[in-house]
Amino acid sequence: MKKYVLPIFLLVVLFILTACTEGTSEQPGKSNNTDSTTNSSGNKVESKKDSIVIGFEADAGTLIANTDVNYATDAQIRNIYDPLITRDSKTGKYIPFLAESWESLDELTWRITVKEGVKFHNGADFNAESVKFSIDYILDENNGSFYRSRWANISEVEVISPTEVEIRTSVPFPGLIERITGDLLILEPGYVAEVGKDEAAKKPVGTGPYKFVEWSRDNYLKLEAFEEYWNGAPSIKQVEFRYIPEFSSRLSAFLSGEIDLFKNIPVDSVQSVEADANSKIAEVSSSRINYLALNTHYKGPLQDEKVRLAINYAVDVDELISAILNGHATKMTGPLSKINSNYTETTDYSYDADKAIALLKEAGYAPEDITLTLDTPNGRYPMDAQVAQAIAAQLQRIGIKVNVQVNEWGTHLEKIRNREMKDMYILGWGPAFEPDSTIFDLFTQNAPYSGFYDEAIEKEIVEATKIFDNAKRKEAYNKIQHLLVDTAAWVPLWQQGDLYAVRKDLKFEPRVDEEIKVFEMSWE
């Protein structure tokens, strides 16, 4: 008898654990989310018309708004909370959302008028007080918001009337509207006060199109339609975000019909989605840009403008796009992409090996004498490590030797921030709709991300960020863009092509700001 003790014990433990584990009572095959597993059968397709499962590679860090600076968190909670200002899904232009209008009263004061008649999920009214609370929430050190650093210029938020709020800044801050659009989501003050921020972070309440239902950590987040939504009831009634960290598993879950949509398909897997009869690919030129930084802070040949120019001529961006990215990117020639509000056309240094060699000679270098280091993350941007290898090969063609160093993302970022990078590195930046958050944050002395700094250009940049007048501002930024291209500040690569795997009968338009708004989707 004794020899049966161990197996029996294990069996009992197994069943107890099975019974205790969260969500066990629900059979996956029976839930409406996995109906699509057998979506070849007619009745299943019928029942999934009002539900959607969206695959994500990571769980949200928290469900309270205005705290975690992270794409996975932001993309999900924007279905629960609304912003004051949103963007046009194609052009990226500002669109009033919970805000009715905004104006700058003077250089230090902004007035925002908000919509009336908007309700939170718990029935509370949205008003100017909610706006003040949400901004104050970011500014309050005790709330541990990682957005606080970007809102440091705010000195005070005052409620003028139930629909009007005034925001005062400590310095002229023309970028405030960009901050509001990019960061701020509206919290329900009464709810957070009542249940506390820890509870509100697990069971969020917003004014958004979807209400919170259930969150199983590292597993799924379930939402349901908020029928009283001020912008109309959502077409899709049940939403589930499911977390599948491994890409191959995510693709399998998509191909087997368990998930209906996911973002960031590697370009080499596009074909397997297109080959599937129930699936399609959606693509948009994102506002996120990728570039090759030429580090002028590092003592080496790249401190010489002519050498940087030579690198610009030696890197064949068109070839990289067609050979490595299979065409899924939009070429850039200057510091800003075409979607940026202050974009201007600049010189395109297209591939010219002879010119590159001639420039190196002018600078006093024989290409064979130059050895450069190129750092790249692996898997952070589309085909990043492969792009780095290809750039190395292209530079090798004119004789420059390049050592490629592949970093884990955290290490890569830290090397940049600590200025430990050597000659060149690959990095992405976005969302980049406004020149301030691109040019100022990239090309000034304290900003480590471009590796480029020039005292005269910095002066121009600092002046430009203070200009409130749109026409003058554009003029100033046009000049800066030309200056940056003329001094070969970096090698601009491309706007990322955002690729989504989408169920064929789902109406879905990818947005330039990478948001995943289920409210805008519907089943055919």
């Binding site: 004794k2 020899k3 161990l6 197996p7 294990l10 069996l11 433990v13 197994l14 654990l17 099975t18 205790c20 584990t21 969260e22 969500g23 066990t24 629900e26 059979q27 996956p28 095959g29 597993t37 860090g61 928290t62 975690d68 600076v69 992270n70 050190e141 541990g144 990682f146 957005y147 650093s149 970007r150 440091a152 820890d198 972070a201 199983s216 950590r217 590292d218 597993n219 799924y220 499911r242 977390y243 599948i244 960290p245 491994e246 191959s248 598993s249 399998s252 879950a253 087997s256 019909g257 368990e258 955290g410 290490t411 970022l413 830290e414 921030r417 958050s437 944050d441 304290n446 900003a447």
Partner: protein, 305 residues
């Protein structure tokens, strides 16, 4: 016996303490995590301010001292990202990890012991040869590859099982089979070789000569005496299954401790990493501790010693 338990308990504490110390310093080598949580346009002064709030600006030994002081009281701090209790987040994932590890163990024992016994009993037969060949393959297959293969076959091609996710028995099948494959191979080989040793012993020959029926000969006399080394192996493997299911948890999106640990490591969420290592080291030590006591239970000789 009490002496034995006290001594082994002390060992558990030392092992856990050393593991935590090693991990504490090793993850610090990967750099300061503050900047990873902040928006890219954060200025240096602001990063410094956050470092101060999070305590990363202090000397390493001060941070370590504080960590040890708090850890003794069961406080591993808050997740840097979400501000929730790090230990709480890890403990919440524990049932899923247990579920996966015990199912895998259960499957492996169910298959490997009869297989090993049979292979040993029918040594050099076709069955034995096939079983041995299969165990070599089972040990050689990388689990991420097997996992993807199973997903492709059972979820994508035949739509029989969900490809990933957690919570229910149906979700459990593919990951536990993947996780069990290596253990099945290991246990089968080990059971077979231990059984072969025992079957050669004099007392078995005596029993055989005295006309004991084959069934009781194998199960009662031989298997029972093979159990001690098998228990050692099972205990060691259970520790590995509980702590080392990282790859399987990632491939199958199983919401367990291993996946949380890996993701927290990539996010540099140090408190969660340390809480996770604490739990895994603790479980690993405890499982071995229990195995020692089980020996004593199975083999009266050890008890007497």
């Amino acid at each position: 016996m009490l002496d034995f338990v006290v001594k082994r308990s002390l060992q558990v504490i030392i092992v856990v303490f050393l593991a935590l110390t090693a991990v504490f310093f090793l993850i610090r080598l990967s750099g300061d995590p503050t900047a990873l949580f902040l928006p890219p346009d954060t200025s240096r002064e602001q990063i410094e301010e956050y470092r101060e709030i999070l305590g990363f600006n202090r000397p390493l030994y001060v941070q370590y001292g504080e960590f040890v002081g708090n850890a003794i009281q069961g406080d591993f701090g808050q997740s840097l990202r979400s501000g929730e209790s790090a230990l709480g987040l890890v403990l919440a994932r524990l049932p899923a990890t247990f579920q996966l590890a015990f199912s895998a163990l259960f499957i492996s024992l169910l298959i490997s012991i009869p297989l090993g016994v049979l292979a040993a009993y029918k040594r050099n037969s076709i069955f034995d040869r096939i079983a041995v060949a299969a165990t070599v393959v089972g040990q050689a297959i990388p689990s991420f590859w097997l996992g993807l293969l199973l997903i492709y076959t059972f979820a994508v091609s035949f739509s029989l099982l969900p490809s990933s996710g957690g919570g229910s028995i149906v979700h459990l099948i593919l990951p536990s089979v993947t996780l069990a494959t290596y253990s099945i191979a290991r246990f089968t080989r080990f059971t077979r070789s231990t059984m072969l040793d025992v079957l050669r012993k004099d007392y078995i020959r005596t029993a055989k000569a005295s006309g004991a029926p084959t069934g009781s000969l194998v199960l009662k006399y031989a298997l029972k005496n093979s159990l001690i080394p098998i228990i050692t192996l099972v205990a060691l493997d259970l520790g590995t299954l509980l702590g080392g299911a990282v790859v399987v948890e990632m491939v199958f999106a199983w919401p367990g401790v291993g996946r949380l640990l890996l993701q927290s490591l990539l996010n540099r969420d140090f408190p969660i990493v340390l809480a996770g290592v604490f739990i895994i080291a603790f479980i690993y030590s405890i499982v071995n501790f229990i195995a020692d006591i089980l020996y004593a239970y199975v083999n009266p000789q050890i008890r007497v010693k």
